[in-house]
């Protein structure tokens, strides 16, 4: 029963994924405006970050707020490797991903033995420390002519490390397509990884840990080990997204560590549906659309975001994906619903 069910879910995932990929390939040819393609590129990056956050928070149950710090680590390391060592961004982006993995292993060792709220506090403090160290960085690292460049770029941000080279490679009309498809490819791999984790024995281990931790641990499932595994491996795609972000904007700044951006992405996760494969994508899309609307009311953007966050977490904690799933399950009445969702 369990086996069939998960195989069925996996098939559904493949179908949904294929449809979305085809749509994502067609869209830039139908709406080839710079703005639409640029926004969609950013959407791919945020959806990647949120899908990996979903693994950390929704699946492994680690309430980490260091997600954007891990993202920024990837972007900064990739940018620095390109700037100081002259590596092409195509190579340094992967090292950005590896750096993020390393960073999150360190965070994991420091935080994962603690209880829920403590983890949230410490990871938030780590992100804030990273932010403070970057914006207070004024020491001279490299001199170019009369100007002095500091190691992290400080408040001005790290720049001049180049990009993915599509400006030269593609004709003017299709220039934006390059970054768009890089973003898409990263997202596809990230989602494939999250489907793999959620539907695999690792996902089952976490379900066991959540349902009855003592029982699961007695059966030999080490919570710390599994949490560290997910926390560090998901950091690769988060860091990669950071590196692509740096290449897309040609600059990496401490603004990626702003609390408001973190909360924006957290809202995507909550509104999409925590712990569900398609939640992050649904949430990222919904929040990007809401943000377009809120741009008209720029003075109340924060409050609007806050309101949405409160309404969803209080009234609809399963998120959009959870409710869509419920509707489908109600549709199939002949299939008895055995408490699948916690």
């Amino acid at each position: 029963m369990m086996k069939n069910d998960s195989a069925g879910r996996f098939r559904t995932d493949i179908v949904i994924g294929s449809v979305l990929i085809v749509a994502a390939i067609i869209i830039p040819f139908v709406f080839p405006t710079r703005y639409v393609i640029g926004q969609l590129t950013i959407f791919f990056l945020w959806a990647t970050v949120v899908s990996q956050w979903n693994l950390v928070f929704g699946v492994a149950g680690i309430f980490s707020l260091a997600q954007m710090a891990i993202f920024a680590m990837g972007g900064y390391v990739a940018g620095m490797l390109s700037l100081y060592l002259g590596w092409p961004l195509w190579i340094s982006m992967f090292f950005g991903g590896f750096a993020s993995v390393l960073f999150s292993v360190l965070i994991g060792f420091a935080c994962l033995r603690l209880r829920g709220a403590y983890v949230a506090l410490l990871t938030l403090a780590i992100a804030q420390t990273m932010y403070l160290l970057i914006i207070t960085d004024t020491a001279c690292f490299m001199r170019t002519g009369v100007t002095c460049r500091n190691f992290t770029g400080g408040t001005r941000g790290l720049a001049q490390f180049g990009d993915f080279g599509f400006r030269e490679l593609l004709p003017y009309k299709y220039m934006a397509f390059g970054n768009y498809f890089i973003g898409l490819v990263v997202l596809i791999f990230a989602v494939a990884f999250s489907i793999f984790v959620i539907r695999s024995p690792i996902g089952l281990a976490f379900r066991a840990l959540r349902d009855n931790q003592t029982c699961a641990e007695v059966r030999g499932i080490s919570k710390f080990k599994y949490q560290l595994l997910i926390f560090s491996s998901s950091a690769f795609f988060t860091g990669l997204a950071g590196a692509v972000y740096a290449g897309h904007f040609r600059v990496m700044g401490a603004n990626t560590l702003y609390l408001n951006l973190l909360l924006f992405l957290l809202s995507m996760l909550i509104i999409g549906g925590v712990g569900r494969v398609w939640g992050p994508i649904l949430g990222a899309a919904a929040l990007m659309l809401v943000d377009e609307v809120l741009k008209e009311f720029v003075n109340w953007r924060l409050a609007g975001l806050g309101l949405i966050l409160v309404v969803f977490i209080v009234l609809l904690p399963k998120g959009l994906a959870g409710y869509i799933e419920d509707i489908f399950q109600r549709g199939r009445k002949n299939k008895a619903t055995v408490g699948q969702d916690e």
Binding site: G116, A117, L124, T129, L266, N299, W300, R301, A303, V310
Partner: protein, 292 residues
């Protein structure tokens, strides 16, 4: 010698700032398991309300402080009725309430920003003058801050220990179900604690703004520091928080003096993380064991 005096004086001031922002946070967490991310915004609300009361309405300072505490309590009540009340007893309360209060903080911050603007204002409440120890000048304001923080924490800790409401709050913290069976209305306790927390946060906000400035995001940094202190003291332990505040304040100022200002916070964090690896439930905290 002068630099040592300077370090001690600044360290105590910084410690008092931390202590003052930690009281409400620690109380609400300890009693309700609610980690209030709206704390920072509530500090700002308190500071601004006192500012308005003094500058716009010309009220005397004590009344302005009471007014700010009243509005703070009101904000706490709003937080209870619109957010916490609807979530009590549901799955994942502990983490979901963190997220919900994050959203609440955004709304509050935006309101303050729209009402007062982003430009920093000067808090009119405060003492002038200071005290000279050798070459070191210690403003009276800082001394007042140290006293107020110590008094606030002692009062809260005493009230929790000895009053009827305090006992009910502690009982709720220990075992919600059993407390309810003893005839205590737990929902009322939640409301009371959030209102007291809101009032305390407002007073803390006023104290903080007297030695810094008023800005809509002024509460974020103190909140983060307060979190760290709560973590190291063991969340919810008020006496522990008082000691931890002053120790960490002195530590941070010493590091800033020796290695430069920018390393103060990172060093603090490093210290806390190593302390937590040594004692995962806080230095003064006790392990909670769950029965199967």
């Amino acid at each position: 010698m002068d630099s040592l005096t300077q370090i001690v004086a600044s360290g105590l001031t910084v410690g008092a700032m931390y202590a003052v922002s930690t009281v409400a946070l620690s109380l609400v967490w300890g009693a309700l398991n609610v980690l209030n991310m709206g704390q920072g915004a509530m500090l700002a609300v308190g500071g601004y309300i006192a500012y308005t009361a003094v500058t716009a309405f010309g009220l005397p300072i004590p009344i302005a402080i009471v007014a700010a505490a009243g509005v703070g309590a009101l904000v706490g009540a709003v937080l209870y009725f619109l957010v916490v009340k609807l979530m009590i007893g549901k799955d994942g309360f502990e983490t979901n309430v963190i997220i919900a209060t994050f959203g609440f903080a955004l709304i509050l911050e935006n309101l303050v920003l729209r009402l007062y603007g982003a430009y920093p204002l000067r808090q009119p409440i405060g003492l002038d003058g200071g005290w000279h120890i050798g070459a070191v000048h210690v403003p009276y304001q800082n001394i007042l801050l140290v006293l107020v923080s110590a008094v606030l924490m002692t009062v809260v800790a005493y009230a929790l220990k000895s009053t009827r409401t305090g006992r009910a709050i502690r009982a709720t913290a220990q075992n919600r179900g059993a407390t309810e069976l003893m005839g205590v209305r737990v929902s009322k306790i939640f409301l009371q604690v959030l209102m007291i927390g809101g009032g305390l946060a407002a007073i803390s906000g006023i104290m903080l703004s007297t030695i810094t400035t008023l800005a809509p995001t002024m509460g974020y940094d103190p909140m983060l520091k307060a979190f760290i202190i709560c973590v190291i003291a063991g969340l919810g332990n008020i006496y522990g928080a008082l000691i931890a505040s002053f120790v960490l304040g002195l530590f941070e100022v010493s590091v800033q003096f020796l290695f430069g200002v920018r390393f103060g916070f990172p060093a603090l964090l490093l210290l806390v993380i190593s302390a937590l690896i040594w004692k995962p439930f806080g230095v003064f905290g006790r392990r909670k064991t769950d029965r199967l």
